[in-house]
């Protein structure tokens, strides 16, 4: 379990992390989503005690990172692809790490086998491919057999096979009851992996919701209509209490109704339709809408006391700016 309480990190000219409060729970994969530069990596460095917070605190298993007696046995982390010196062999890299935390040497060979690097264990990591480097980093994270694991953009630059491997690994770790916290800037990747979603934008919390709820709320389905007689269409729809919203491209969008019903109404009213198509906004779009709002929210930050997550999630669902 990782707990953030009003965690804040300010640099001279910008606030990278802005009073973040949320908890990452065991037994599930928690996706940490935000556009590049949203503060994901900074948050992770704060969790690991690498950066000092300007305000607030973060607890791992109820303690601040510096107070963990053998930190690698509490939380394992992968921050960047290769935090290894290329001149050292994969095995030796894990060996010094193990010794720093009194982890038995045999564990090194176990994790090397677990990530599939046993055959190159005695090769210097400088010659590793990106994928192998990533596996070495994951081996380092697993070394202390920790109940909490944290990965920063683990699939960046990996081939499809590597991506699948990491996805399954994370699910497997969560299924064992561990806390798995993984960041990404790709909603599509998170949709396949995460059970729970924490979204940040400009260092602020935008959403902290179960994945399923996020999908229900944001995967908006609607019917797109084009007509040369908009007023007639609106009147026809209005007779059944259906409202249509004008999209920027000139088409009309109707939520909560099906194409057949609309066709019947239009036909009865004698309205000519040029297009009548069911649409489904992607999660990627929902995510981009949400983080785009974060920028606006940031610009007029006058809504003190309003929980940004609730506020913005709601506004995201009602925004009609999405075009296809």
């Amino acid at each position: 379990m990782i707990e953030l309480r009003e965690l804040t990190k300010r640099y001279e000219d910008k606030t990278a992390v802005d009073s973040l409060s949320f908890a990452i729970r065991p037994g599930q994969v928690t996706g940490f989503l935000g556009p590049n530069g949203a503060g994901k990596s900074t948050t992770m460095r704060l969790i690991l005690g690498l950066d000092r917070p300007t305000g607030g605190q973060v607890l791992v298993d109820g303690r601040s990172y510096a107070q963990l007696p053998a930190p690698l046995t509490h939380i394992g982390s992968l921050l960047e692809a290769s935090a290894a010196q290329g001149g050292r062999t994969a095995r030796d890299h894990l060996l010094w790490l193990a010794r720093s935390n009194r982890i038995p040497d045999r564990r090194v060979d176990q994790v090397l086998a677990a990530v599939g690097l046993q055959d190159v264990a005695r090769k210097r990591s400088g010659g590793f491919s990106l994928g192998m480097g990533q596996r070495l980093g994951i081996a380092a994270a697993l070394l202390g057999d920790p109940p909490v694991l944290m990965f920063d953009e683990p699939v960046n630059g990996l081939d499809p096979e590597g991506i699948l491997w990491i996805r399954n690994l994370m699910k497997g770790l969560a299924a064992e009851g561990r806390t798995v916290f993984v960041s990404s800037h790709l909603m599509s990747e998170m949709a396949l992996t995460a059970d729970h979603l924490v979204v940040i934008g400009r260092g602020r919390l935008l959403a902290d919701v179960p994945m399923e709820e996020f999908i229900d709320r944001n995967a908006r389905s609607y019917v797109r209509i084009r007509t040369p007689q908009p007023q007639a269409l609106l009147d026809a729809l209005d007779s059944r209490g259906i409202t249509a919203v004008r999209a920027p491209d000139g088409s009309w969008e109707v939520e909560g109704s099906d194409p057949a019903a609309i066709a019947a109404l239009a036909g009865a009213g004698g309205v000519v339709l040029e297009e009548l198509s069911p649409q489904r906004a992607s999660l990627e779009e929902a995510f981009m809408r949400m983080t785009a709002d974060a920028v606006e929210y940031h610009a007029d930050a006058t809504l003190n006391g309003v929980r940004p997550a609730a506020d913005l999630t709601e506004s995201a669902t009602t925004t009609t700016g999405a075009t296809s």
């Binding site: 690498l50 950066d51 935390n101 677990a114 990530v115």
Partner: protein
């Protein structure tokens, strides 16, 4: 694959029986140092340079003794056999700088600090391992340089039992260790090994010597870390010397302490 990693369905943490101690941080630093090839070659090069250059200078000194040594100044047989230190100390600079600079360059520093979050412990363990290794290698270099050098000097050489000689020879090992520690401190402050090497190597190899040759500045250069430290390798008091060997050692130790403290201060304060 996934389930094989781990201990099966229910996760049972395999915690170490006892929490890590100081010695574990040192063990990790020692493991880091011995598993890279660079430090080994650097130390070997330093050893060969110290002994080789010293032997060469002693050999030619012995052949041209009358013309080289002016009568007013007492001859320094130990310091002459340590002439190779000028080159050998560069190996110590490289080792001290890369020991932390290599971690910054590769990004491994973040992994190191997640493994050992107490930065004072991390830094002290690094310094202790560096001090131990460079002192031991320094001992080998100093005694070898001394015996080979004295053999080359023939009749002009001294024995280890002569007054002040053992102190001066041990001083050679201490000197090399102190230069390595100074470099560690400077590199920790700068956090970039190219920058640290770019400052330290010319300083020890060139600047100190050039400054010494400028009239009027000479008196001040006696207080530079390398020149003060090398005073400890003399067995006679020279007329130009403003202080004795122990003061020289103290001056160098103060330089080293300042560099190490500066590094400690920066490491503790800055985000990694």
């Amino acid at each position: 694959m996934t389930t094989a990693i781990l201990n099966g369905a229910a996760h049972q943490p395999a915690r170490a029986a006892t929490p890590p101690r100081w010695s574990d941080a040192m063990n990790a630093e020692w493991t880091k140092l011995r598993t890279l090839r660079g430090p080994r070659w650097t130390l070997l090069a330093g050893l060969l340079a110290t002994v080789g250059v010293g032997a060469l200078i002693c050999f030619f000194m012995n052949r041209n003794f009358a013309s080289v040594v002016s009568d007013g100044k007492p001859f320094e047989p130990v310091r002459t056999s340590f002439a190779g230190l000028v080159l050998g100390q560069l190996a110590m600079v490289v080792l001290g700088v890369t020991m932390i600079g290599g971690e910054y360059a590769s990004g491994m520093i973040r992994l190191s600090l997640t493994a050992v979050p107490n930065r004072t412990v991390f830094y002290a363990a690094k310094a202790a391992v560096l001090a131990g290794v460079t002192f031991l290698v320094g001992l080998v270099a100093a005694f070898t340089a001394f015996f080979v050098g004295q053999a080359m000097l023939g009749d002009h050489g001294v024995s280890l039992g002569a007054p002040g000689v053992l102190r001066a020879v041990l001083g050679g090992a201490v000197y090399l260790m102190l230069i390595a520690l100074l470099s560690l401190g400077v590199a920790t402050m700068l956090r970039r090994q190219t920058l640290a090497l770019g400052i330290l190597v010319p300083f020890f190899f060139l600047v100190s010597g050039i400054l010494q040759a400028i009239p009027g500045v000479t008196a001040a250069t006696q207080y530079l870390p390398d020149q003060a430290g090398q005073r400890f390798l003399q067995i006679h008091h020279q007329s130009k010397d403003a202080y004795g060997p122990w003061t020289g050692l103290l001056i160098t130790v103060l330089w080293v302490a300042a560099a190490l403290l500066g590094g400690w201060f920066v490491l503790r304060r800055r985000d990694a």
